[in-house]
Symmetry: C2
Subunit: 105 residues, 2 copies
Amino acid sequence: MEKVFKALASEPRRRMLNHLTGGPMTVSEIGAHFDMAMPSISKHLAVLKDAGLVQEQKRGQFVLYSIAADHMANLLYGFLTPFCPEARKIVKDRKRASRQTGGKP
Amino acid sequence: MEKVFKALASEPRRRMLNHLTGGPMTVSEIGAHFDMAMPSISKHLAVLKDAGLVQEQKRGQFVLYSIAADHMANLLYGFLTPFCPEARKIVKDRKRASRQTGGKP
DNA sequence: TTCTTAATTAGGAAATTATCTATGGAGAAA
DNA sequence: TTTCTCCATAGATAATTTCCTAATTAAGAA
């Protein structure tokens, strides 16, 4: 949770996640939406990856990043469980759905 | 969202929220669970309050803090909506339930 | 091979955050 | 009133985060 919330505690990183909802993107494509040097983009993506919020996939000389929306949802629902009883049910339902669609529970 | 995630990006603050699930507590009561000077406790609570994750209530010379679990859940479900379609339904259901129980939508 | 593009790593400056001690203020108790 | 308790604020310092430029690695293209 530490890494997750630290990763989300940055506006550029949250914007990157939003961009990635449109599908996988290369580092340059993502960077095109930001007024920031490329190494900074790369580092932000590394933080998101370290938190498990995105995945990377090398494609020749490119690196494609994609969002790990399911994992992010599981983490946040899990965090909410102690505070919000309904979250427990959501987590359970998600696990069941995941089993049926082939994800490991 | 910036303030919320920055507030949650701290282990002591997340622990404080967990302690508060047991009900309202004074600053000293909360601080008793931490090896930290009182002003630091006070500051962490101020950060949580600024993010809307707790409420404070003065009681004589004491200050009672309590968790704003509903607000926290609404914020996180709202954040998840663009990434996780089911979150939208949850937000909608919560709004409906809130209207029925007297919360303003 | 040599050149170009894509991305990361390295190093350092500036801003933010966390923590402490010391102090201040408001309410209860003596 | 004076004193004590609870809590917040102020100021200083150490640690962390963010961002840049420069250099490096890796893959394609010429």
